[in-house]
Symmetry: C2
DNA sequence: TATAATTATGCAACATTGTTGCGTTTACAA
DNA sequence: TTGTAAACGCAACAATGTTGCATAATTATA
């Protein structure tokens, strides 16, 4: 079993993700990290944090991968998240929205593993401004 | 108002998309196009076909953008598709699955525009092989 | 048909996002 | 304190997508 090390960079990256209200891409996280480590290291730290189930991965509607903290992830729910994501077309922010039950209507010959549900539109912050 | 031109390359790209059972990325489409045009042209043709509502765009779970033909797209439904997509973890193919009603449970201060629902798992073809 | 205007293309160059290999450093257990 | 696995930096690469600009093809219209 591999030993998990809590390096300075890893702690910093995790804190950046935790303190932010919305999900962030590697680029955004690296920008906030103030050159605490190389950008490749950020990628590798993110991989580890996902594996350790401290954060989860979300593909935004434009194809860019974002990361957000896991709040109550069990081993089974870690990837197959029970919540949806909201992608704001104005501020481009991606937000985790609390649990949402959906009923899938898929032919029985498909074996379902994970459900990815992302809704785009305008977030509350951007609606106020308008 | 812009005039729509049906060029040889555009017809070829559209036919490639129509004849394929699953959605395809620009890379796959270009590979099948047999150097009928430059790869940049394929990107531009895809943009036009999306605008003309002949095809639609789907972001796969890995972040790569795929394209599939539109079957019964109205102006309103063009992007806000009423169907879900199945992403096979084995053969990596992305398939459009016919309509699927879902009930969203989003706070009312979010203004919803489009819904993106992608399910991953194992497709029927890959299940048979196993 | 000839000419002008518009649309589409090729090519080169660039941007962004993500990955890999490898030698070196660091964290942690013993 | 020290050995070793884990993490890191750096350089190089890969995949995907975008932009500018000169040229070619198509369509409009005189
Ligand atoms: Mn989330
Ligand atoms: Mn589809
Ligand atoms: Zn917003
Ligand atoms: Zn499959």
């Amino acid at each position: 079993m591999a030993i998990i090390r809590n390096t300075i960079a890893k702690k910093a990256v995790f804190e950046i993700i935790q303190l932010n209200k919305t999900a962030m891409s590697q680029t955004e996280i690296f920008a906030k990290a103030n050159n605490i480590c190389d950008r490749v290291t950020v990628y590798r730290i993110l991989e580890r944090l996902v594996k350790e189930m401290k954060i989860h991965k979300i593909v935004n509607v434009n194809g860019v991968i974002n990361y957000a903290p896991c709040n109550s992830c069990s081993h089974e729910q870690h990837v197959h998240h029970d919540h949806l994501h909201f992608s704001c077309t104005t501020c481009k922010k991606l937000t985790c929205i609390s649990d949402n039950r959906i009923e899938l209507n898929i032919p029985s010959n498909y074996q379902v593993a994970e459900v990815f549900l992302t809704v785009s539109g305008i977030c509350p912050d951007c609606l106020i401004i308008t």
